[in-house]
Structures are given as C-alpha cells and as structure tokens.
Amino acid sequence: MIVFFEAGEEIITKVRKHWFVFAVQALPLAVLCIIPLIFFAIGGSRFASSSVVQEAGPSFPLFFAGLWYLVVWVLFFIKWTDYYLDVFILTDRRVIYITQKGLFSRRIATSRLDRVQDVSAEVTGMMPTFLNYGDVHVQTAGEEKEFIFHDLPNPDIVKDRILSQYNSAIRMPRETAPVHKNTEV
C-alpha cells in the first residue's frame, strides 16, 4: 500500500468497495466471452468454408478464440486491479481514501480525525438497499471540505466507526487512544 503511516499509527478498518460493484463492471466482459461461441455457432459452416480459414488451416478458429480470450482475460485483470486498489482506511489518527483510476492514475485523500466535522451514510437504489452498500460522506474542516467514499459495504457501520474513532481521538491524547482491532467490515 503506497501510504506512509506515522509511527505508532494503527489501522482500525480497511474496506474495499462492495463486490457487487466489481461484478457489474465485469459483466460486459462475461458477455464478450460468449461472443466467439455465438459467432462459431451461427456462422460455423460459413466460417469453415471461408478462404481465410482454407488458407490458414483448420486450426484458425483456435487462434481467433485464443486472441479474443487473451484480450478479455487481460481486461478482466485490469478491472480487478482497479477495483482492488480502491481502498478506504480508517486509522486511529486519519481517514485515508485511495482511488485508483485505470492503471496509471491514483488519488490519495487524507484527513485527520480531529478535523472531521460531520459523517453521514447514504444508501440509494434497489441493489444497494438489498446488498447494503453505499456512500459515506465525511465533512472536514480541512482544505478539502468533503470526502465521499463510494460504494462501501455496510456504510452505517463504517460511519459509526469513524465517529467512534473521532470521539476517541479528541477525548484522549494520541498515545492513549483506544484501538478497536476489528479491521474488516
């Protein structure tokens, strides 16, 4: 993780986006996987008698399918990497939100807990309601007025953890603030 923690800083919660968000993003790739099968099923005989297949040999469909699935396979892992590297981290001192955009763009937003002013959770839509995922909004007194953490599972629990940790951070000196070690939500 390309985040440098302070000495003694402990991670309270580390959350990724809900799996359903990734499933929706990967769905078009699943459709792409079916296309060669449909292609060969519908145009199989026509394809076999095509001059390019005659010239390239009978194993040309294998070549075509290999190329197609290789591209889909690589695209799937690019999407998965993009999903996996989006992380929300709550430590005993800060909230950190890492957003990966594609393979070569990343944004790391950080706010100290003592600058947090207001936290709210928002679940909008049918699937987010059924699967219980949504956005967590954190208002801060810093330069960046609002952090929005998108599509987190159990946003109410995340909100409560932020508020709980905020209370601990402002009540107690940093060295003695309690640490809740449950890191998964």
């Binding site: 390019v52 294998l62 070549f63 290999g66 190329l67 396979w73 990497t81």
Partner: protein, 76 residues
Amino acid sequence: MQSPDPFFAFPALSFPTSSFLSLVFLFALLMSFIMSAVLLYHWMSYGKNIMAVRVVASVYFIGVAIFLGMMLAGVS
C-alpha cells in the same frame, strides 16, 4: 468473375495469411509481457498480502499461457 469473400475481407492482404497470423501472435505476446509487467508492478507495490498476490498472479499467468498456447496452436 469470382465474388469477394463476404465473410472476411483481409485475405486480400499482400502477404500470406500465415505470416499475418504470426505477426498477430507476436503482437499478442508483446502485449501480454507488457501488461503482465504492469499488473505485477501494481500487485507487488500495493498488495501487502503476498499470498493473495501469488494466487492472483498464478491464475493470471495460467490463463495467459493457455490463451497464448491456443494462438500458437492456431498458427502452427
């Protein structure tokens, strides 16, 4: 006069189809190497869980090997 193949237009290329397929295969091989390097960089840099990185990388490379193998079988 023989009508052009309506299914595929690219047999009209000036070099043999097998050479064209070989070029496509080499391009796919190069793309796989580059993408593998980029993905591995990300997994190794930001993935603290080494075991998970190993599993994901293994699955990825097995898939790449299978599909490149399919292409190679199609070329030869």
